[in-house]
């Protein structure tokens, strides 16, 4: 029978069909072209996130700045003044703020994308569009807030430089766009893996929020990498966010050093993570409605 043949051969489809829906698809059957066709949707999701976040607030987008500012003040008081953790001679506020701005982008990407399936089940259950569009739009809308925070950070930096603090933004700032890509990639990669796993087993959702907080302490945000005792150094360096944050700080503040090997490690980690994440996500998205 004709139909049976096409079933058996799987990949050899008669040209006339636009698509064939079958129970199990090839793991690598990922349709990025389709995602591109839906780029308008991604941008509209970004706009939705942005607009809806600040509707009916008085301060509006100022909240983008208030959040990191308050965290910085808190860190300065607790870790800087009370705990007395050294900051490599950098003004404490600047040191913490740089770390927080970099980290916040990664952590919001991770937190928000890890909820993709659960939060959007009602939309996903009613209409098809490439599911990846949602986590990607989350990463982009977080990028908007990152840019605002980054500009704010630059203002602070300029202020401290005028006042004569010992900071020197240098040529390494050219790395920053690349670092931002890595942060986005890592956040997205971990996020979509977690969201794929949580469709069936919700346990991970409980872990994510506080796991990310713990992770922050394993990343040189509140302390400089140079202060880490030798025996813990490997552990901190195994964290793919370490080189990203460290390079980010070095580029803006001029203290610390750039290690290309570490950056390469983070880069490779990101690529592998994203590839694995997309494959898992792609597999789960087809039937998650039955288990979510």
């Amino acid at each position: 029978m004709n139909t049976a043949n096409t079933n058996e051969q799987g990949n050899i489809l008669p040209d006339e069909w636009t698509m064939i829906l079958r129970p199990k698809r090839n793991l690598l059957d990922i349709n990025l072209h389709e995602l591109w066709q839906y780029r308008d949707l991604i941008m509209l999701f970004v706009k939705r996130d942005f607009v809806s976040k600040f509707k009916q607030t008085i301060l509006g987008p100022l909240w983008f700045i208030i959040q990191p500012l308050l965290t910085t003040i808190m860190f300065t008081i607790i870790f800087g003044n009370i705990a007395g953790i050294p900051t490599d001679g950098i003004p404490k506020i600047l040191f913490y703020m740089t770390g927080i701005v970099g980290w916040t982008y990664f952590s919001t990407c991770l937190n928000d994308t890890s909820q993709t399936f659960i939060k959007n089940a009602s939309i996903f259950g009613k209409v098809y569009f490439p599911r990846l569009a949602l986590p990607i739009s989350v990463v982009i809308s977080n990028l908007v807030s990152f840019v605002i925070q980054f500009l704010f950070l630059c203002l602070f930096l300029a202020y401290f430089m005028i006042k004569g603090a010992d900071v020197s933004p240098n040529i390494h700032v050219l790395w920053i766009p690349f670092l931002v890509l890595l942060m986005a990639g890592l956040g997205l990669g971990f996020g979509i893996i977690i969201s794929s796993l949580t469709t069936k087993y919700r346990d991970l959702t409980h872990l994510v929020t506080f796991g990310v907080t713990l992770w922050m302490y394993a990343t040189p945000i509140i302390y400089p990498l140079s202060e880490i005792p030798e025996k813990y150094k490997l552990m901190v360096l195994a964290n793919p966010m370490t080189p990203v944050v460290e390079t980010f700080k070095t580029a803006l503040l001029g203290v610390g050093q750039i290690n290309y090997l570490h950056i390469l490690y983070s880069f490779c980690f990101t690529i592998v993570l994203l590839a694995v994440g997309i494959v898992i996500f792609n597999k789960v998205e087809k039937t998650f409605m039955d288990t979510v």
Binding site: P23, S52, F129
Partner: protein
């Protein structure tokens, strides 16, 4: 030769019953072991067919072995009771979830409308939501730009287009949402029960829009419990029952089969104080033979026997006749014929014969409800207890083709040249 645009081959869908949670991990491990050992997946054989009242079995087949070809330009109505698998079928075709077995082959761009206003965000304005919802349904920004005015016009909420939709009345919300969906231009449109919204005027507008969509040669799949809408819109129909395809054919055949199915499974509904109650009732032709079929123009007799449980001074009896869409077509009562039922003593049995002369309803299936009571209330009422069919026959009408079913009654006429 018609061009098949959707082809379903042995499509089945299995769902797990009960909570997905505890035990899921062990089930998953079982499946993995089975796969590793090369055995049949243990969950694939325990499935039972989907009857809502059966509780055995931990997995259920929401759809079983569906084979269906849908052709270009066809408007297919899918009917069936709740849980028959209609929505599951649409979900599979609109790619919300994957089939458990079988293939679905699709030719052309598909847009599905399983819900009105998917993705509407309450904080966003009408305009912003039109763009967002349009994009979710698969339109590009450019397409929406070019249709924006039309959409706003169609929805009739022009004044509020810059107001957040959370301030809309529910009717406005739905109209805006449907307007967006109505302006999709896919080759295949899947619609699930969305016409059940909005006021009568808007429903008319919506059906009109769907008709024009189908006239432009696109394929439409339509699920609804509103049989009138199905009959108006669709050319072909499919009847589903317990996850299986029960019947496929012309839309009128399908809807009447469905109506029959829903009546057969209803128990007789009976109410009243039973001061006097029906013991038996039957329908007979003029020769006294019990029948359930008459020709148009025939006369027939309904005989009902009732017993009084208390003494009754007077009592009325009525017959209500309804068609298979449960529309009230005819009403007969004893006072019309100056016939009186009175002074029945306790435990007396009375029989009444009612003759209906020259029945002139259009051919189809009808149900008679019997009522006994008086101005103080209902003694006994049995709903749709007698079912009969009217056939076209030769007595009244002499036309070579079937009588148009949309007409509810047949009028006798005489024609002359003047």
């Amino acid at each position: 030769m018609p061009n098949v645009v959707i082809k379903l081959e042995n499509v089945s869908k299995q769902y797990r019953l009960g909570n997905v949670g505890t035990g899921t991990l062990s089930h998953d491990l079982n499946r993995i072991f089975a796969r590793v050992l090369g055995k049949e997946d243990p969950t694939m054989k325990v499935g039972v067919s989907n009857k809502l009242d059966t509780v055995d079995g931990r997995y259920v087949w929401a759809l079983q072995d569906i084979n269906l070809d849908i052709c270009d330009g066809e408007v297919l109505g899918i009917v069936g009771k709740n849980g028959a698998g209609k929505s599951t079928l649409l979900k599979l075709m609109s790619r919300v979830t994957s089939p458990t077995t079988g293939n679905i082959k699709i030719k052309g761009r598909i847009a599905s409308l399983l819900e009105v206003g998917t993705g509407f965000h309450p904080e966003l304005t009408g305009k912003e939501n039109i763009y967002l919802n349009g994009a979710i349904l698969g339109m590009t920004k450019k397409e929406i730009d070019s249709k924006f005015d039309e959409i706003v016009e169609f929805s009739g909420v022009k004044k509020y287009v810059n107001t957040p939709v959370k301030r809309y009345s529910s009717g406005m919300y739905v109209r805006l949402a449907f307007a967006v969906a109505a302006h999709l231009e896919p080759e295949i449109l899947i619609v699930d029960e969305v016409l059940a919204v909005g006021d009568a005027e808007f429903q008319k507008k919506a059906i009109g829009k769907m008709q024009s969509v189908s006239r432009s040669g696109r394929t439409v799949l339509f699920v609804s419990h509103n049989l009138t809408a199905v009959e108006q819109l669709c050319t072909k129909g499919v009847l589903m029952q317990n996850g299986m395809l029960k019947m496929e054919g012309k839309v009128h055949d399908i809807t009447s089969a469905y109506k029959l199915m829903s009546v057969d499974e209803n128990e007789l509904r009976r109410s009243g104080t039973r001061v006097i109650e029906f013991l038996e009732y039957k329908m007979a032709n003029m020769n006294g033979k019990t029948i359930d079929e008459v020709f148009l123009g025939d006369s027939f007799t309904i005989t009902a026997t009732a017993r009084a449980n208390e003494k009754i001074d007077f009592c009325d009896m009525t017959l209500d006749i309804r068609n298979d869409s449960n529309e009230f077509i005819g009403h007969i009562t004893n006072s019309d014929d100056h016939f009186e039922i009175k002074n029945i003593s306790k435990s007396d049995t009375t029989s009444v014969a009612v003759t209906v002369k020259n029945i002139c309803f259009s051919p189809g299936t009808y149900y008679i409800s019997l009522w006994l009571g008086n101005s103080y209330g209902t003694f006994d009422y049995i709903e749709n207890c007698i079912r009969f069919t009217i056939k076209q026959g030769e007595a009244f009408i002499h036309r070579p083709y079937p009588f148009d079913k949309r007409a509810k009654t047949v009028l006798q006429s005489s024609w002359n040249f003047k």
